[in-house]
């Protein structure tokens, strides 16, 4: 086990930032911390990296206690803080050489390691550039290169794509996937597609607690049975609603009158496609049908449900038929 976190708690004078959090990360896993701003992601990562001590609980990185044997644990960790702290007056090469010395890379291997991380992060041609003059995307890469310098077993990346433009985000994501071949990665984000694309497992953190922990696909399925069928019918509203609710696997039907047409939303208990059943029902009953589509619950909805207890975009005018 690469990371073992047991009953981790961090109390600030007026707030409990992290509250009794326990989780484990296997070697080679990419785990995403997902949560709204202020959920406790950064605090957890700072505790993992040994920057701030925990108020309670324990963290073990590759079997080493982070609080008791901090220096040994830090050798195993490459940490990219959220604001990417860099020395603006230094050149990329100077900065990386400085950090390599600081991280105990043997002097003879220093150049080799600097060149390796530069190549990995697409900085091969930027070595002579002054950090203060680099774009946000390149600064992020320098931060990542720094985190990789001493070939750590665990990479902790706090919001690695924040503030980047879409193409930069894509290239950083590619880079993270590439790094995952040789490192265990914990990354935090509040951008949902990011975890769906890059992570094997998601920990949803809300108000300092773990609200859910699973693969993005399982999480999506667990929250809301998988699918929703959207139907728009020209039919007697109550009768159609009742018949739709009687279809197999339907958990709930919501309806919304739009002039002569009624919009129905069927929530299904399992991951099944009921479109054919709905079509056959409409034919049998002689209803006019102008929309029939399937909608999978996105992780975004799962996330919003978990962190607010409310489904996303619930329309207040909708009536619902509980099954």
């Amino acid at each position: 086990m690469m990371v073992e976190v047991d009953h981790l708690t961090k109390c600030y004078p007026r707030k409990k930032a992290v509250d009794n959090v326990s989780f484990a990360v296997d070697s080679g896993e990419i785990v995403g911390f997902l949560g709204p701003n202020g959920a406790g992601k950064t605090t957890t990562m700072r505790m993992l990296s040994g920057y701030i001590p925990a108020s309670g609980g324990s963290i073990r990185i590759a079997g080493i206690d982070v609080l008791r044997n901090s220096l040994a644990a830090r050798r195993k960790i490459g940490y990219l803080p959220e604001n990417v702290p860099l020395y603006n007056e230094l050149r990329v090469d100077e900065f990386l050489r400085f950090k390599a010395h600081l991280k105990g890379v043997p002097p003879r291997q220093c150049r080799k390691h600097v060149e390796r991380v530069k190549e990995l992060c697409g900085l091969s041609r930027e070595g002579r550039r002054i950090i203060g003059q680099l774009s946000k995307g390149f600064r992020q890469r320098v931060g990542l290169a720094d985190a990789l310098l001493h070939s750590p077993e665990l990479l902790i990346l706090d919001e690695p794509t924040i503030g980047l433009d879409p193409s930069q985000i894509r290239s950083v994501r590619e880079l993270i996937k590439e790094l995952a071949k040789h490192h265990t990665i914990i990354l935090s984000t509040h951008i949902l597609p990011e975890v769906e694309i890059t992570c094997q497992r998601v920990l949803i953190i809300h108000e300092g607690r773990i609200a859910a922990s699973d693969t993005p696909a399982n999480l999506r399925a667990a929250i809301q049975g998988g699918t929703r069928i959207l139907v728009e019918l020209h039919a007697p509203r109550e009768q159609a609603g009742g018949l739709l609710a009687n279809l197999p696997h339907v958990r709930e039907v919501k309806s919304d009158q739009r002039e002569a047409w009624t919009h129905y939303e069927l929530e299904c208990a399992t991951d099944v496609d009921l479109r054919q059943n709905v079509f056959e029902l409409a034919v049998r009953e002689g209803w006019k049908l102008r929309e029939l589509s399937i909608k999978k619950t996105s992780l975004e909805e799962a996330f919003i449900r978990l962190t607010t207890g409310e489904p996303e975009n619930r329309e207040p005018s909708m009536d619902s038929y509980e099954v």
């Binding site: 920057y51 702290p85 020395y87 007056e89 400085f98 010395h101 600081l102 991280k103």
Partner: protein, 248 residues
Amino acid sequence: MRAFYALWKKELQGYFLSPIAYVVLMFFLLLMGVSLWFLVDMLSGGMIAGGVMQTLFGESIFFWVAMLIAIPVITMRLLAEEVKLGTMEGLLTAPVADHTVVLAKYAGALSFFVCMWLPTAAYGFIIRYFDPDATVDIGPMFTAYLGTLLIGACYVALGLLASSLTRNQVVAAVMCFALVGISFFAGFIPYVAANPSVRHLSAYFSPVIHMMDFSRGVIDTRPLILYLTTTLALLFAAIQVVESGKWK
């Protein structure tokens, strides 16, 4: 040790990569140059009572003005800037002990302080060249520089502590200036206090009196121990402040 060297080098390099080094050096050498000019003027007028080193170090107001202004400027950025830029997070999550970071930064600042004084070593020889009769002894010259180093080491540690207490460089500089200023002006208490026991006691802590002794060639172990222990205590305090910052 390699991490210490890397941090020390980066710190010293940092001065010369920013305008700070050049502004401080220019200002300092200008002041010391004026001091030398006064000395030469006095030598040529035959107005010198004590040795050359006493006039340059112990009795010179320029020496203290330079200390009062240069030390806060040298030390203000040491830790405050790292905290403000967030680079402290990078340093304290690297496999380096917190005290190594603080001590290396201190060593970097002290090294710059020494660099600042190095050119003045030529003054004695310049005077000797122009006036072979002037009393420039190697002994007092050595002790005057030793005194400067001891007092400087203590004030740099004071500046480091001030810099660890805030993330604002200006606040750190003002704090350091005020503390060095208090220490300097309190150095005159032995001259002005009416109470003999206050006069006697304050003389032990007066950097002005200590510097006069050092520039006369006197090595008294009391100020030596005073400055060394104060420096160590201040460094210890700065390390504690950095470590305690994590627990907030």
